[in-house]
């Protein structure tokens, strides 16, 4: 019988505190797992230096984060969505439909995507065309579109090591995959003339045809995170994995990085725009929450401050390529300028 009392009192307490706890005093963030380490570094420093509680940062993917942001306005929806790709029109429409009208788009910097293999194996110097020729389902051979016959990297280009082709690439749910497709596969497709061949063959969407990867087991989609890719490369010394620059920089004792078009990926080479495979990282702010959630404006300003996101800040030390236009972003954040329509 005492259970009934306990339950009753617990429910009563719950009911009472539900009202008192309604005012959320911490910033809630969700989204990209690529942005997560940066966001948690900022959140940690923010909690240490300000009188506001440390923001809560969830991961779960860029798309999921943006969807959560657009669920509506209110305390049980998130305030900020981290995203490793730009917001889509469908997200904006969903937001508008749910009453989330003003969103700020904050670009925090750039992230490099690197190709790395086991440290004891041979070194690679790739071009996007090599990757397309190695992984695409159809390649041009003697002027004909044929099923990809390449077995080793030396088949792709004679001066690459004669190592079996085996690539661990991010799965399609990752934002990284979009960049990989766009900046490596499609760029390579154009470079080695396969795009033109597809067009000549009357393909409906030549770029789509370029992105068809071979399915004979040499290109393996990794749906997990970079730790899984690392474990795969570790177990399979022939494998070449696709990593984020910061992840590679934390594991330089196990991985060696390949150059792309002769450029070694680093914070500097990406900042200068020499290394081709990089992408901007964003977070999206729900303006309606700015004056409701304490510390939210301060967190955003702190994130893009020179102390954090500048070239000498902790984010750059962890592998974020800082944005040369950071001052403009800081100005925008101060003015709470909502983003315009996508161009």
């Amino acid at each position: 019988m005492s259970y009934i009392k306990v339950t009753a009192s617990a429910l009563a307490i719950a009911a009472v505190s539900a009202t008192s706890a309604a005012a959320r005093d911490n910033v809630q963030i969700a989204g990209s797992s690529t942005v997560l380490p940066y966001a948690s570094i900022v959140a940690e420093a923010f909690g240490e230096n300000f009188d506001f509680p440390t923001p809560v940062v969830e991961s779960g993917g860029s798309g999921a984060g943006r969807k959560k942001l657009c669920e509506g306005v209110g305390e049980n929806t998130i305030d900020i969505a981290n995203s490793s790709s730009r917001i889509k029109q469908s997200d904006i429409d969903l937001c508008a439909q749910n009453g989330v009208t003003e969103i700020q788009e904050v670009r925090i910097g750039y992230d490099g995507i690197v190709f790395a293999s086991d440290i004891n194996g041979p070194s690679f110097a790739f071009t996007p065309a090599d990757w397309h020729a190695a992984l695409a389902a159809k390649v041009v051979k003697d002027g004909q579109l044929v099923d990809n016959p390449n077995k080793t990297w030396a088949d792709v280009r004679a001066d690459l090591p004669a190592q079996d082709i085996l690539a661990f690439i991010p799965g399609t749910k990752h934002g990284t995959r979009e960049v990989f497709d766009e900046k490596v596969i499609i760029a390579g497709c154009e470079e080695n003339g396969t795009l033109a061949a597809h067009e000549a063959a009357g393909a409906e969407d030549a770029e789509d045809a370029c992105m068809q990867l071979r399915t004979d087991g040499v290109s393996i989609d990794i749906d997990g995170d970079y730790t899984e890719t690392l474990a795969r490369v570790d177990a399979n010394k022939n494998g070449i994995g696709v990593f984020g620059l910061s992840f590679y920089q934390n594991n330089t004792d196990k991985l060696q990085v390949a150059t792309m078009n002769g450029v070694v990926p680093s914070v500097e080479s990406i900042a200068k725009g020499e290394y081709p495979v990089s992408r901007p990282l964003y977070f999206y702010v729900k303006n309606a929450h700015l004056d409701v959630i304490p510390g939210m404006q301060e967190y955003i300003e702190f994130f893009v401050s020179d102390d954090m996101a500048g070239p000498d800040g902790p984010l750059a030390a962890y592998g974020l390529v800082s944005d040369p236009e950071l001052a403009k972003t800081q100005e925008m954040v101060r003015n709470r300028t909502p983003m315009g329509p996508l161009n």
Binding site: M1, S17, P53, E58, N76, S246
Partner: protein, 453 residues
């Protein structure tokens, strides 16, 4: 089995009158061989199982045991008023404007000065490189110390600060001179300096209580990451589960077992409870997101939502265990109680329930242990998050963000820095210890109080 009872087998054996107990005939030999084979297979199965468990546990222990020890550097820091309190007013408001970035140079100077006092040379390293031996958590520690009492500014204080993750890894064998030569985050010279600090007694590896009490830390400071928030969050969730699932489950089972009429409707309920026990836990997470967060408006990442979801998951387990132990109480007890004039309710609550209690508690504890290790439903309700603030005391704490133990393991395995592998394995050890304790309690309760008829 059928061979032994098969009557047709006897006439076949009958002509051979020579059969004796000492000399096995062909048929008996085959039967014996079958038995030997079966025993061997059983033995192999058990051996494989034990080997797998040993392999798993030893790999976790091998990776994770070192997380209970941590390397610290002892140094004297001069809390320079010129840096921390430029105005000289000792106004906490003004001092709080100095961020952790302002405290880092004090530590660097403190380390270099302490080394100079001990006669340790930098040996070609810059002061900045030497300061990289210190964890990035240290400036925050220093700032907290100063903010707690601003009159400390101007003093020289001795501090035990965490060593950076790679330095800690060096003394645990995770980082070697060879790997450091390739690693961009640490150099062999820094490791040699760490060796000299150790010789001078400035650097020690000691028991790491912070691992159990500290909150999570970001990717740049694995050495500071702890399980504090996760343990608290898990404890809150278990409290919610216990307070809700035990009374609900026991009440439901008593009603179904003792009072409810046996008809199609109760049969349907019974089948559905068994089905619920087999529903994948992620389904409860989806339900929790839809009902508790989106509909009821409860906050995200809060232990109350986690606890409610896990309650739903645990209820079928508790109901099934409770019904089984109620069924195990012999009807003669009920009949005797009713016979001396007890009401139905009195017979249940005074006689049947106390006798069934050990079984109910065992079922509850096993259900709780299951809930403690559950991750999937928490993914959907925002508990897989970077949470650094401790939730406050109950009841408000139930509504504030928290992590949970299994979620912390999942989070740490995703981080880039290899030092988090050690942390994750350490967290697994802690989780396993909790589970073993809970299951041991369940076994003890069963052994001591269970009665058989």
């Amino acid at each position: 089995m059928t061979d032994a009872t098969d009557p047709s087998a006897q006439p076949a054996a009958a002509p051979q009158r020579r059969s004796s107990l000492l000399q096995l005939d062909e048929r008996t030999r085959r039967r014996n061989a079958a038995e030997a084979r079966f025993r061997l297979m059983g033995l192999i199965a058990v051996t494989i199982g034990i080997l797998a468990v040993i392999g798993l546990i030893s790999s976790i222990l091998f990776n994770g045991a070192s997380s209970f020890r941590q390397t610290f550097i002892t140094l004297d820091v001069y809390l320079d008023p010129a840096k921390l309190d430029k105005a000289g007013t000792r106004d906490p408001e003004a001092i709080s404007k100095v961020t952790t970035f302002g405290y880092a140079p004090l530590l660097q100077k403190g380390l270099v000065d302490t080394m100079a006092a001990q006669g340790i040379a930098l040996d070609g390293l810059t002061a900045k490189q030497a300061a990289e031996l210190i964890s990035k958590e240290a400036p925050a520690q220093l700032r907290r110390y100063v903010m707690a009492d601003v009159s400390r500014i101007g003093q020289t204080v001795t501090f035990d600060v965490l060593a950076a993750g790679r330095i800690d890894g060096y003394f645990k064998g995770r980082v070697t001179m060879e790997s450091a030569a390739l690693d961009r985050n640490v150099s062999p010279e820094q490791l040699m300096l760490a060796d000299r600090l150790k010789e001078a007694g400035m650097l020690r590896t000691k028991f790491n209580l912070d691992f159990f009490t500290a909150p999570d830390a970001s990717d740049t400071r694995p050495e500071a990451a702890g399980l504090g928030v996760a343990i608290l969050g898990s404890a809150y969730m278990m409290l919610v589960v216990l307070v809700l699932a035990l009374p609900l489950g026991v009440a439901a089972s008593i009603y179904l077992e003792e009072f409810a009429p046996k008809n199609r409707f109760t049969d349907l309920i019974e089948v559905n409870i068994s089905n619920l026990a087999a529903v994948p836990s992620i389904v409860f997470g989806i339900l929790g997101l839809a009902v508790f967060i989106n509909f009821a408006g409860l906050p995200q990442s809060a232990p109350i939502v986690g606890g409610l979801v896990l309650t739903l998951m645990t209820l079928p387990t508790i109901i099934i265990a409770t019904r089984a132990s109620l069924k195990a109480v012999p009807p003669s007890i009920r009949d005797a109680a009713l016979g001396v004039g007890a009401s139905k309710m009195q017979s249940v609550f005074h006689h049947v329930l106390p006798l069934a209690m050990p079984g109910i508690l065992t079922g509850t504890i096993i259900g709780l242990a299951q809930a403690l290790g559950e991750t999937a439903p928490l993914l959907l309700i925002g508990m897989v998050a970077f949470v650094r603030e401790y939730p406050s005391g109950p009841p408000d704490g139930f509504f504030e963000p928290a992590a949970a133990l299994p979620v912390q393991v999942y989070n740490w395995t995703q981080r880039g820095d290899p030092a988090f592998v050690e942390r994750a394995s350490g967290a697994i050890i802690v989780l396993l210890v909790f589970l073993v304790i809970m299951n041991a309690i369940a076994i003890i309760l069963r052994r001591r109080f269970e009665r058989r008829w």
